[in-house]
Symmetry: C2
Subunit: 224 residues, 2 copies
DNA sequence: ACCTGAACACCGTTCAAGT
DNA sequence: ACCTGAACACCGTTCAAGT
């Protein structure tokens, strides 16, 4: 399905949007998302770098197209009937999907990003907004619920991507002796939890945070 | 206090950490944070680019030092006695401060970022952790409360920085006709709130989202 | 010690020209 | 139409050499 390489007999004289996305997927899979550049992508396809500008507007556009393309290939989960649980399930599904695509991190925080998503990616917005409406939110409140969950998710995803990104040579001592030289007189509470900090920071707490967040957001009269 | 420029009689033969940070502040103030590069910063100081590497380890280190430096110059707010309200006040203070420093966005999501902060910046971690402990959380729960609030804040700040960043030539139609061509059969809830989307997206909903989040996090038995 | 220019190894993007 | 190489305008960082 995806053209394997440029080593065929007569190298193809033209590319398509589909071929570019397929090559990008291959490049990410083989060399890592940090190596996805226009120059390398063009070389992968056996075309000139500037040829890509006939099919994608710029780098941001490439990554958003890639995200929409991948979303279309991903099965969407069955969601619970309970509105509250439905929002949580949709949030976790989005989180787990984006966690598997660290290259998407650079683009999820783009202004107006949601509006640029295609239908296969928008189901999650619909599920969260729908859950909020079914729980009794007004339309405006439902948008706030989505935005809040979105900011939380984006924050976690970007920190996660930056963590995975880090070259493993310097492990960054976040372990037992976090906050060494911390004055317990001036920062007493931080000193108190110092021992828990490293252990807790290593855990994935996204789901429990989300559960608390949705609980607070759906409490009558909390939002607005 | 800060050396005004390099136009003095005999240009100073050496830089210091302090001079570098002062020059960086000036460069950001005059030309915008996007123009803060090692090459430009060195030119500003009248030294060779590579000289900077004797005072800061790399670009990330420069920005974190700048953040700690700015935090030390910023007055910290009076915080309410009520633990719940204290967490909210600290969160808003952090948010409002970071919103004024868009150059910090690139670094707040760094792995182990919090541990690299100095005491003048750590008061906010202490305030949030302290509020959680005073509200009856265990030490581990208090760390989860901080992390959750932190992810939410980071997400909002990064989206905000990316929005401000955008060159204003293309305004990105997020207005009334968001989600044009959206099929109401397939995404009914999104279609329902379409009219509210643009208006709500333009509002600053950080504080109300935070209030809901903290409410949910401090509800007994919600976290863990 | 502290500073330096040159060089390395890249980027995204524009543009005028080719087929 | 579609594709192209060359060029523009940059980056952060390393290194061997100078004072």
């Amino acid at each position: 399905m995806a053209p394997s390489s440029s080593s065929r007999a007569g190298r193809p004289p033209r590319t398509s949007r589909e071929a570019i996305l397929a090559a990008a997927r291959g490049l990410i899979a083989r060399e890592g998302w940090q190596r996805l550049t226009f120059r390398r992508l063009a070389a992968e396809l056996g075309v000139g770098t500037t040829t890509l500008y006939h099919h994608v507007r710029d780098r941001e556009d490439l990554v958003i197209q890639l995200l929409n393309d991948q979303a279309a290939r991903t099965a969407r989960p069955e969601l619970p009937g309970d509105p509250h649980e439905r929002i949580i399930a949709a949030g976790i599904a989005v989180h787990d999907t984006l966690a598997r695509w660290p290259w998407a991190a650079e683009v999820v925080a783009t202004d107006g990003f949601i509006v640029r998503l295609g239908e296969p990616a928008l189901w999650m917005v619909d599920a969260i907004v729908g859950g909020a409406l079914d729980a009794g939110c007004t339309q405006a409140e439902a948008v706030v619920v989505f935005r809040s969950v979105w900011y939380y998710t984006v924050g976690e995803i970007i920190v996660r991507a930056r963590t995975a990104d880090r070259p493993s040579d310097a492990p960054r001592a976040v372990d037992a002796d976090s906050f060494t030289g911390l004055d317990p007189e001036r920062l007493p509470h931080l000193a108190a939890v110092r021992g828990e900090w490293g252990r807790e920071s290593a855990r994935d707490t996204y789901a429990e945070g989300l559960r608390a967040f949705v609980g607070g957001l759906l409490d009558r009269g909390r939002v607005r």
